[in-house]
Symmetry: C2
Subunit: 286 residues, 2 copies
């Protein structure tokens, strides 16, 4: 197994994801360098012990890095990739933490040959963003998707997996297109449903002051992800549009089926349908 | 404040809701009597210390009751109300725990004059059902909706509130129609969304073995209530049909709005819409 002991790891972007990763890796590698746009963010990351060293200068931050992790919203990652390529030392592994991978991997294909590229997507998060919410335990137990490119070396791949494991996550290798299709349904669709649910409650029941006294745990849970960072989600929606629209169309059909079963009071088929769904949910989360 | 010390409380139906209520009230009133259809259920409730005394005979169970709580699915409650009326002692308070109230309150209007009727709906639950899942802490901190009838006495109302508080819940008085409209959106709609989401994932991504390794907490939370007891949910859907269909129509419009914003890549309006929704969610759960 690859050991991180001797490596310098630079994290670009010290928000929830980047700050948490720094905190998780610090002490397991030679040094964790943090790069942020604002000096206050660097100071807070240092004060919280999430990084060993910090800078607002990208070139300085990556100059001696063995691994660079881009931890910004997806479209900032897409802007950073061509900028950062020429700044990276020979053999440096360039990873990212973006939630969509097709565009990222495409941008990584144009990196100079001395860089080892590897798409990454840890399946964890919170509805709070920024360094203040960073938590070194955030990655523990989550699946960390890795999307290699055709020319990603075995050594680079092993290093990416070691990094995921060092953060407490389980690496899972998935082609970028397949990952985008799957997360479109299991992650991006639930976000839009949560948003539409909040919007519905706001339009129909929020005029009644009793409404918010009775919101049950079902509503709280189903709407939770509607609190996610909007800039991050907007980037996701715009870079996984096709898969998300397809997932929405499937969902629409499933919901209309339920609507018609309720409307027609077709109890026998409604029970059968709900029984099958309940069983599926149990298979998914035994 | 009304004291339950001297009261005999009979709970009809010893599933998750009834068993948990028994466990919560036991020791705070003279005696908790449990009535179930099957002798095994009565035995389990006694063995778990959820009731003081149990029987499978409805007439015997309610003969000396000061309060009777119907804790079965809604349509069994509707069947029980006319049967149980003549069996109740003079002045007995008859409550229920059904999730929809319009039909229940209508059935309670036909009870004999010696009975004090009060609709009840505690906003708590789990996706597991039956006495095995009963938990005396289930009601703690939840809102317990009480829907009085025109002739419900102040004394009966105070007793209902005392019972809710003794279980650890916060009583909230709401007219039956208003409660059904509100829970249609904040409770029954999230159930159908969770079901349609599971159904979508099953239809689109479940063929890929990687799908279930990457289900993030967003999906788990948004789909949680799809595991709810089907008989209970079917009764709810059938007795709150109109309000649920209206909530579904509102949701459908909200989701289509989001669909079109994503489809047309109208980022400015999408961001504005998502920002408003995020703010609303924060107001709902500060």
């Amino acid at each position: 197994m690859t050991d991180l002991d001797d490596f310098t790891i630079t994290i670009v972007g010290l928000g929830l994801m980047g700050g948490s990763l720094g905190g998780a890796l610090r002490g397991q590698c030679r040094v964790v360098v943090g790069v942020a746009r604002r000096p206050e963010t660097v100071e807070r990351a240092l004060a919280r012990g999430l990084i060993d060293r910090g800078t607002t200068d990208l070139a300085d931050g990556v100059a001696t890095a063995d691994v660079v992790v881009l931890a910004t919203p997806v479209r900032v990652i897409l802007d950073l990739i061509p900028q950062i390529g020429p700044l990276l030392p020979e053999g440096c592994l360039l990873m990212d933490l973006g939630s969509t991978k097709t565009h990222v991997v495409r941008a990584m294909q144009r990196l100079p040959a001395h860089v080892q590229p590897l798409g990454g997507h840890p399946m964890c998060g919170k509805e709070v963003s920024g360094i203040a919410a960073a938590d070194p335990a955030l990655y523990r137990g989550c699946t960390f998707i890795l999307s290699p490119l055709a020319h990603t070396s075995e050594r680079a791949m092993a290093l990416g997996q070691a990094l995921a494991r060092a953060a407490g996550a389980h690496p899972l290798v998935l082609d970028a297109g397949r990952q985008d299709f799957l997360v479109g349904t299991v992650s991006h669709l639930p976000y839009l449903l949560a948003c539409a649910l909040v919007s519905t409650a706001d339009a129909t029941t929020s005029a009644d002051p009793a409404a918010w006294q009775i919101v049950a745990s079902g509503f709280r849970d189903t709407s939770r992800v509607a609190g996610s960072d909007v800039t991050m989600m907007l980037d996701i929606l715009m870079t996984n549009r096709e898969d998300i629209l397809k997932a929405l169309e499937h969902f629409d059909a499933a919901l209309h089926k339920l609507y018609h079963l309720v409307e027609s009071s077709d109890e026998q088929n409604l029970r059968m349908t709900l029984d099958v769904i309940r069983e599926k949910r149990r298979e998914m989360f035994p």
